[in-house]
Symmetry: C2
Subunit: 239 residues, 2 copies
DNA sequence: AACCGATTCTGACAGTCCGTCAGATAGCTG
DNA sequence: CAGCTATCTGACGGACTGTCAGAATCGGTT
C-alpha cells in the first residue's frame, strides 16, 4: 500500500501524520527524500505551466512531461490536476503575513501615516498579484465556483489583511472625527469590500493597462479609497 | 462545404455575411431555421451545464448529451467548448445598458440623488451577477489569462458603466467642493477601480456570506464608496 | 562488492473525450 | 414521389485519465 501524499501539503507543518487516509494500497509510511524531491519538482512544473497554458488546458500528462517523468508518477502524488494546483495555491498562504503586516504596523489615526500605509498596501497587492497571478486567478475561479477547498484557502489568504483592516477601522472610528463611512456599517464588511477591490484590480492590472489606464493611477485611486474608508476624510483637501 | 457559424454569434446583428471564413467544407450559405434552433439549444445546454459543473470539467460531449444530440453536431457549430462559452458570454453584452443607465440617469451633483443612485448601482451589480454568475466567472478568468476574445468582451460589457461613471466624476468635480479624490486622479481610473470593486464583490457575494458578512452590508458599503468617489463627501455626516 | 528489502518509478491498458470525416437522414420543391 | 440540399450522426485515429503489476533504484548489511 502506498500512501497518497496529497493532504500532507495542506499542512506542511506538524500534523503530517494526520490520518491514514490510505488511497491506494498498503503501508502507511511517510515520504522519503527522493519522493519529496519528485513531488516538489512536479509542483514547480505545475506552477510554471499554469503561467503559460490556460487553466482549462492544464493537463496531468503535460505536467509529467515537462517534469521529465511519467504520468503515473504524477498520479502517485496527486489524485488529479486540481489537487496539484490546490497544493501550489496552499503554498501562497504562507505569505499571507506580507499584506497584513503593512496594515498592522501603521498608525491609521495619523493622516500622513495613513496615506502612506494605504499607498503601501495598494502597491503590495499589485506586487503580490504580479508575482502569483496565475495561481491566484485559479483560486478565485474555483472558490467562486463553490469549491470549498479553494474557498477555505482564499479565506485563509485574505483573512489576515481583512481582519487587520477591520481592526484598524474599528480602532480609528471616533464620533468626533467626521468623514467615515456611516457609523452603522460593519467594519468587517468595509474591510472585505476594500480587500476585494484591491485583489480584483491587482488581478486585472494588465487588462486595465491595455485599456489605457496606468497602474500608477489605479494604485493612487485605491490608496485614496482605502485611506478614506479606514481613516476617514479630513474636512478639507481635494481640489 | 459547410460554413462554421461560430463568428455569427459575436455580432448576431447585421454583419452575418461577414467573410466566407469557410472552416469545414463547401458552400458559403447561411444557417436555416433548423440549424439555428439546434445551435440555440446547444447554447442553452452550455449555459445550464456551466451553472453546475466547474468550467474545467465542462466537456463538448456532455453538452451534446444534455442536448440529446451527437458530439459531431456540437462541432458543427462551435470549434471548441471555449467558443460556445464565449458565445453565451457575448449574449450578456446585450444587457450592458442595464447598469450604465442607472449611472447616466442620476444627478450626481445632488447629494441625496447620488446616494440613491449609488445604492441602486450596487444593487444592480449584485442582481446582474446573481443572474449570470457562472458565465461572468469564466469571462473573468479567461480575460485575466490574456485571452483577447474574452478580454474584448469583458471590456465591451463594463465599458459602458465605466465610461458613464467617469463622465459623472468629471462632471461633478468642482474646485469649490471639497472631499473628492485628489484632483489629479484620472476619472477613468477612479471609475475603473469602482467597477472592479462592484464586480468582484458581486462575484464573491456567496463567499462573503458564508464568511458571515451580510450582502446588505456589503451593498451599503459599496454604495458609500461609490458615492464618495463620484460625488465627494460632504464636510459633515458620519458619526 | 554483491545482496536484499523497501521505496520509487514506469510501461501498458481500459475507458473517455477530442475533432473529423464520409455517408445517412430529414426537409423542401416541384 | 423524385431529387436536391441542409442537417445530423456513426465511426475512427489520436490524446488524456487513472490504475495496475512489475521494473528500476536506493540505503544499508554482510
Amino acid at each position: 500500500m502506498v500512501r497518497k501524499l496529497d493532504d500532507m501539503s495542506l499542512a506542511e507543518s506538524a500534523q503530517a501524520a494526520v490520518g491514514p487516509r490510505e488511497v491506494r494500497a498498503a503501508s502507511g509510511r511517510l515520504a522519503g527524500t527522493r519522493a519529496l524531491a519528485t513531488r516538489a519538482r512536479l509542483l514547480d512544473c505545475t506552477r510554471q505551466l499554469l503561467a503559460g497554458r490556460s487553466y482549462r488546458d492544464l493537463t496531468a500528462i503535460e505536467i509529467a512531461r515537462e517534469c521529465g517523468t511519467s504520468p503515473a508518477t504524477f498520479y502517485q502524488y496527486f489524485p488529479d490536476v486540481e489537487s496539484a494546483v490546490l497544493t501550489v495555491a496552499a503554498e501562497l498562504a504562507g505569505h499571507r503575513g506580507e499584506l497584513s503586516e503593512i496594515v498592522r504596523s501603521a498608525n491609521w489615526r495619523d493622516r500622513t501615516a495613513a496615506e502612506t500605509a494605504a499607498r503601501d498596501l495598494a502597491r503590495a497587492f499589485m506586487d503580490f498579484w504580479g508575482r502569483h497571478r496565475s495561481v491566484l486567478r485559479v483560486i478565485d475561479l474555483s472558490s467562486a465556483e463553490g469549491d470549498m477547498r479553494f474557498r477555505t484557502l482564499r479565506t485563509e489568504l485574505l483573512n489576515d489583511v481583512t481582519n487587520a483592516l477591520a481592526e484598524a477601522i474599528a480602532d480609528v472610528r471616533d464620533p468626533r472625527r467626521p468623514g467615515h463611512l456611516g457609523p452603522g456599517t460593519d467594519p468587517m464588511a468595509v474591510a472585505a469590500v476594500l480587500v476585494s477591490m484591491l485583489a480584483h484590480v491587482a488581478s486585472h492590472r494588465e487588462g486595465l493597462e491595455t485599456w489605457g489606464i496606468a497602474s500608477a493611477d489605479t494604485e493612487a485611486v485605491m490608496a485614496d479609497i482605502v485611506c478614506e474608508a479606514v481613516a476617514g476624510r479630513p474636512s478639507r483637501r481635494g481640489s
